[in-house]
């Protein structure tokens, strides 16, 4: 018996990666349980609510497509946040970068005419990415040059981005459509649209771009010199600086790449879903992506899964509200609880693993 336990201890010790995956899973389960209790207290039937949630996310072809549709920007956003975080930067500005990227995409989408799709769409997406990158470089530069905390500057730039995009499509805004009543820009040309992938649904190729980018970000972070240096700066900027890595420069680069991914998220939303700029077209994808990145353990492949989970929650929420009469906000409560448990999973996980890893005398195995 004792032997078995120590074998298991060894296994856990050796497979920390898989183990952290299990930890995330446990956090989700615990959140759902706590969510169920809250639902009960509010007078709802949790089983009914959850089955509506699942049905809303997977119940039909259209539902599943919608799930994947909201997974897409979350995946971009999660990657954006994780990339900056790996460099030790907390980029809260993904939402603003999405807005600015979307604005650039819409503008290029309707104003450039006469181009074939094979040229037009890439130009639009690159434009969106560059616009996002500009929105990321700002805080990166301020941090590198003057030590301005990126949390402050990115939050402020979020407001600026919301107001700019709002103004652009307001009544007298420069991008306001002349045909529509609502605050929106003109529609983009069909040459700038991302084509749909699944007949009868809104799902488009953007999801594939996101998955490819996850692989690209993985390669950048873990296979390139740049990624190595970004991670070194993020883990110990003093050691990085001591061996001659230019720390401020990597702050700027990481924020630029992060903003680039955020801008691309906005561009893909415009070209794949809305086909025009709407004020506040992103329902908080940028903020959710912080949670996506953290739940995904800041690893590109983890983010693919966590983005999907948050996609399920988002699209399932609609049916949950309609069928079980549970407020959509409840879903946000549940996702907040998941994040809470993720945050707790470090100390909680440590507590339980330590208990498990104790020998009979109560000693902790220090190498865990």
């Amino acid at each position: 018996m004792k032997m078995e336990k120590s074998n298991l201890q060894q296994i856990i010790f050796k497979n920390k990666g898989a183990f952290s995956f299990i930890k995330a899973f446990i956090a989700i389960i615990l959140a759902l349980i706590l969510g169920a209790i809250i639902l009960l207290l509010m007078g709802n039937n949790p089983i009914e609510a959850y089955s509506a949630l699942v049905q809303g996310a997977f119940g039909s072809k259209r539902c599943f497509a919608e799930t994947l549709l909201s997974t897409t920007p979350l995946m971009f956003g999660g990657l954006a946040f994780a990339l900056a975080y790996r460099c030790g930067l907390f980029n809260i500005g993904v939402e603003g970068q999405i807005a600015m990227g979307g604005m650039a995409a819409a503008f290029l989408g309707y104003s450039l005419t006469g181009l074939p799709p094979i040229i037009h769409l890439p130009i639009v997406l690159i434009g969106a990415a560059l616009m996002g990158a500009v929105w990321g470089i700002g805080p990166g530069f301020l941090k590198a040059r003057f030590g301005v905390h990126e949390v402050i500057s990115t939050i402020m730039l979020n407001y600026i981005a919301f107001k700019i995009t709002g103004y652009m499509v307001s009544v007298k805004g420069p991008m306001k459509s002349l045909v529509d009543e609502m605050p929106a820009s003109p529609r983009i040309l069909s040459s700038a649209k991302i084509i749909r992938i699944w007949k009868g649904t809104r799902l488009h190729w953007g999801i594939l771009i996101a998955i490819i980018l996850a692989v690209v970000v993985y390669y950048i972070l873990f296979k390139t010199r740049l990624g190595y240096k970004i991670r070194a700066v993020g883990k110990n900027s003093f050691a990085a600086e001591t061996v001659g890595i230019n720390v401020p420069r990597h702050f700027v680069i990481a924020m630029m790449l992060s903003g680039l991914l955020g801008g691309l998220a906005g561009g893909v939303e415009i070209c794949g879903v809305h086909y025009r700029l709407l004020a506040a077209f992103s329902p908080g994808y940028g903020f959710d992506s912080i949670a996506v990145a953290l739940l995904g353990m800041l690893h590109p492949f983890g983010i693919i899964f966590s983005a999907f989970l948050f996609g399920i929650l988002r699209s399932g929420a609609i049916l949950m509200q309609a069928m079980a009469g549970v407020s959509k906000d409840m879903v946000q409560v549940i996702s907040a609880i998941i994040i809470f448990f993720m945050g707790m999973s470090e100390p909680l996980g440590k507590y339980f693993t330590e208990r498990f890893m104790r020998n009979k005398d109560g000693n902790i195995r220090k190498d865990i």
Binding site: Q9, R231, N236, A239, G244
Partner: protein, 504 residues
């Protein structure tokens, strides 16, 4: 006489090692008992068991003849055992009094009775000649006083068995003498002291008896008066240790490092370095001796591009590198840098070993492959260095923070020497290392010097400087005060100048 502490057949296993292997350890009341051993020999583990931080797999502990089972440090404290840790457990924004009463606050009605506590602490401080201001904030006081505050904390809590975990590591030679005085005074007052160290000199200076640990086993317990440093070293390392480093006559080549009239400021914008002129040539080891805080930190920083100079010129490897980027000091200047604070500046603790071995080398061949990094090469390289430098305890995939201090330092030394540098800047390269690792680092420095490399050695340990250097320069308040030939210099002369005396 019944020993005050008796630990019988203590066994403590960690997954990869047996940290304590049937250890028998006895301490008599009122003695200073040294626990000597290399890093990783199991000294701290044994004391953590005694202090209740760890349980043990096998064995028994008796305090004053009574068998005890500690669930945690609070049980040990109740039995009168206290520990001064290597890293102090004081809260910087609290006063000494506030720190000391934490957890056992005296109250008067509903409010805290700080007055009473302060009086008690002042009285204790006077009784034991600790010279502590109970109202001072911890962040404002010197390291020495913080340590005395820790000792006072134990006294305040009524501990009469005190464990000191390498207390001298952070002290200057003068402060070490003061600590000895305090320890002797505590002894005279009937306290029992266990002193963990890996420095032979300290054992000889202060202890009554010494227990030597090696690889988790007790080698022997002896009366200090019946032994000598080389006997102890042999017990500790398991073989003969060379204290004198063999230095063959070398050819001194052309100058590699030249500093001309260099001025620089410290973190707070005050002048830290003034009028520095220095030349270090191929094949030469120049030692910078001085008491901590006299500009050594700033000196290493300007020589690695981490700090700007206000005036003057720094030429390395024939290139003017004044105020250039750190990267250029490595690429153009061909320096290697062994920083004094390896945890902060030398390593990335959350990176696996193989990523630490290529830190700073990531843009060089053969690791750089276009934009990519060749991690297979990095792992081969790491494996090679692990083998060559005998780095133990982990494989190259495990994180750097799983290694012992000596092995961590070996990683830094291995990595930096592998650069094939022209100039090696070694700042306290053996800080915190045990005899074996120190010997190893010293041999490496000598070897590199014999290969014609210029070496600047900055150290707080005068014996290290005297042992290795060809020339010795004393730094005092940011200025070079004098130069000695290592052959003819006396320790007294240099020591006097380090303290600000002597010829200027």
């Amino acid at each position: 006489m019944e020993p005050i502490i008796k630990m019988e057949n203590i066994v403590k296993r960690f997954p990869l090692v047996c940290a304590n292997d049937h250890v028998n350890f006895e301490v008599k009341k009122g003695e200073i008992h040294c626990l000597l051993g290399e890093n990783g020999a199991g000294k701290t583990t044994l004391m953590n068991i005694l202090y209740g931080l760890y349980g043990c797999d096998e064995g028994k502990i008796f305090i004053r003849g009574e068998e005890v089972y500690f669930k945690g440090p609070s049980d040990a404290i109740k039995k009168g055992i206290g520990m001064v840790h290597q890293h102090f457990m004081l809260i910087p924004v609290f006063t000494i009094t506030e720190n000391l009463i934490l957890g056992a606050e005296p109250v008067k009605g509903p409010s805290l009775d700080i007055k009473k506590a302060e009086e008690e602490i002042t009285a204790l401080s006077q009784k034991y000649q600790l010279n502590i201001d109970p109202q001072a904030y911890v962040m404002d006081i010197s390291v020495g006083m913080q340590q005395r505050a820790e000792i006072l904390k134990l006294l305040y809590r009524g501990a009469d068995i005190m464990i000191f975990d390498e207390p001298t590591a952070i002290l200057t030679p003068q402060k070490v003498k003061e600590l000895y005085k305090i320890m002797n005074f505590l002894k005279e007052n009937g306290h029992t002291i266990i002193f963990i160290t890996h420095k032979l000199k300290e054992v000889m200076d202060i202890s009554d008896r010494v227990t030597v640990l090696r690889d988790g086993k007790v080698v022997d317990t002896v009366e200090t008066s019946t032994t000598n440093p080389s006997k102890l070293a042999r017990m500790m390392v398991g073989r003969e240790v060379l204290f004198r480093v063999e230095k063959p006559k070398k050819k001194i080549g052309k100058a590699v490092l030249e500093m001309e009239n260099v001025f620089a400021k410290n973190q707070r914008g005050l002048p830290a370095l003034q009028e520095l002129n220095l030349k270090v040539s191929e094949g030469e080891i120049v030692g910078i001796a001085g008491i901590d805080g006299n500009g050594q930190k700033e000196l290493t920083e300007i020589l690695t591009g981490l700090r700007k100079v206000d005036n003057g010129k720094i030429v390395i490897n024939g290139k003017d590198l004044t105020n250039r980027e750190t990267r250029e000091f490595f690429t153009v200047g061909r320096i290697a840098y062994i920083p004094e604070d390896r945890l902060l500046r030398g390593l990335i603790l959350d990176f696996p070993l193989y990523e630490n071995f290529i830190l700073g080398l990531q843009d060089n061949k053969p690791f750089a492959k276009g934009v990519f990094l060749d991690f297979i090469k990095a792992k081969e390289f790491s494996q090679e260095l692990v083998h060559k430098f005998d780095i133990r305890g982990s494989n190259i995939e495990s994180l750097a923070n799983t290694l012992s201090g000596g092995n961590q330092q070996k990683i830094v030394v291995a990595r930096e020497l592998q650069r094939d540098p022209k100039l090696i800047i070694a700042s306290q390269p053996t800080r915190g290392l045990d005899v074996g690792a120190t010997e190893f680092v010293h041999q490496q420095i000598i070897k590199q010097s014999n290969e014609g490399k210029a070496i600047l050695l900055i150290s707080l340990e005068l014996s290290e400087i005297m042992n290795l250097s060809d020339r010795i320069i004393v730094i005092y308040e940011g200025k070079f005060r004098g130069e000695f030939n290592a052959q003819s210099a006396s320790e007294e002369e240099i020591g006097l100048m380090m303290a600000g005396g002597g010829v200027s």
